[in-house]
Symmetry: C2
Subunit: 221 residues, 2 copies
């Protein structure tokens, strides 16, 4: 089993719950932090001391407070760590359960497990730690279909940007000008209309208002 594990979650209640899980697995050295920056520093220090952490269990969302932070989210932390220390195993433990988001993390950052905080989250986390220790990936049962569905795959970065601009209150005409200026293609008003029409059909929406609402529900924007 892992010997040295780092737990990173801003909520103290959760941190204690996770610590309970690691202890039940007989992991000797477990450290808790409540800020992503602290997690980063602990991991760096572990490597310098030649006693590196083998596993990071981290939340995604961290409330900001008076302490200024370099890494303000679990994603930022995972991003830098997965690049600088690809040998570090990472388990995401989050309330997030939208398939698109889950897949995003596996595809972009090579995480080892994604466990959804839930009624059975602690048991799932225990399973996840075991699986990851054996070199396997782990996904909470409720999101196990997240990795192979291509239904959401059709959304491009362009569409996301379009939806973001809409949600920001821009008119289609303004977006057209914006895209022309940024040399984003296609940029004509007509193309933007057509693309939005496609998205409306895809997401079964009556109009742009509902479209943005649905996109927000799905975590696309």
């Amino acid at each position: 089993m892992f010997k040295k594990v780092l737990i990173s979650d801003d909520l103290d209640s959760i941190n204690h719950g996770v610590q309970l899980v690691t202890e039940s697995l007989g992991i000797s050295e477990v450290t808790q932090v409540q800020y992503c920056d602290d997690a980063y520093l602990k991991i760096k220090k572990g490597i310098m001391d030649e006693a590196p952490y083998e596993l990071l269990i981290t939340d995604l969302s961290f409330k900001s407070d008076h302490r200024a932070q370099t890494y303000t989210s679990g994603e930022a932390l995972i991003k830098i760590l997965s690049r600088e220390h690809p040998e570090l195993r990472i388990i995401v433990y989050s309330i997030e359960d939208r398939p698109l988001k889950v897949r995003y993390f596996f595809e972009n950052y090579k995480i080892d497990a994604f466990v959804c905080k839930s009624r059975k989250g602690m048991n799932e986390l225990k399973d996840a730690i075991r699986q990851v220790y054996n070199g396997k990936l782990y996904l909470s049962p409720q999101i196990q279909n997240s990795l192979n569905k291509q239904s959401h795959l059709e959304i491009e970065e362009y569409d996301v940007e379009l939806l973001r601009q809409l949600a920001a209150g821009k008119s289609q005409d303004e977006i057209s000008h914006e895209f022309k200026q940024q040399a984003i293609s296609p940029s004509s008003l007509s193309s933007i209309e057509k693309r939005l029409n496609k998205l409306r059909i895809q997401f079964k929406s009556n109009n742009a208002i509902q479209l943005v609402a649905v996109a927000k529900d799905l975590g696309i924007i």
Copy 2:
């Protein structure tokens, strides 16, 4: 100190964290549940057995799953309990920290404390239990200004319904008919236009699309 306490939170990690707090206060009989319906039944049973729970510590948001529930949220649970058993002390332990929401619970349900899940949530919860035991109210420091009513900007139920209908893809004309049918006043297209205009100004939105996006971000819908 309290002798019999009920903890209600769907996340097992949190439940364990809260249990740790109650144990540290020397509370002998602590029960955990993960569904609001279970909380309601336990409390009813306690009264029937003439060994009632003195304190309920509950979350607000509960994920729904395969189990059909009568009470699907902490609010529904608190609503019924505060009416049927006003002698029961209630502490809300939630990630919610928006002043309007916090004040809403104090004004409508006579809760005894509102503790925000946070980095220091467990300590605050401990303080809250002590204060409530001494017959006082408790508020997490970060929301202590929530109770003074400064905000005339309060959103009415009517506005929320309007925004929901918009987000569901209804046109203003359709909403007008809908409201007429349900005898919701005002229902004229003109009034709906005017109300939406007011909301747009209030939330600094350019159009209905951005308005719905902002409302979703704020958790209004």
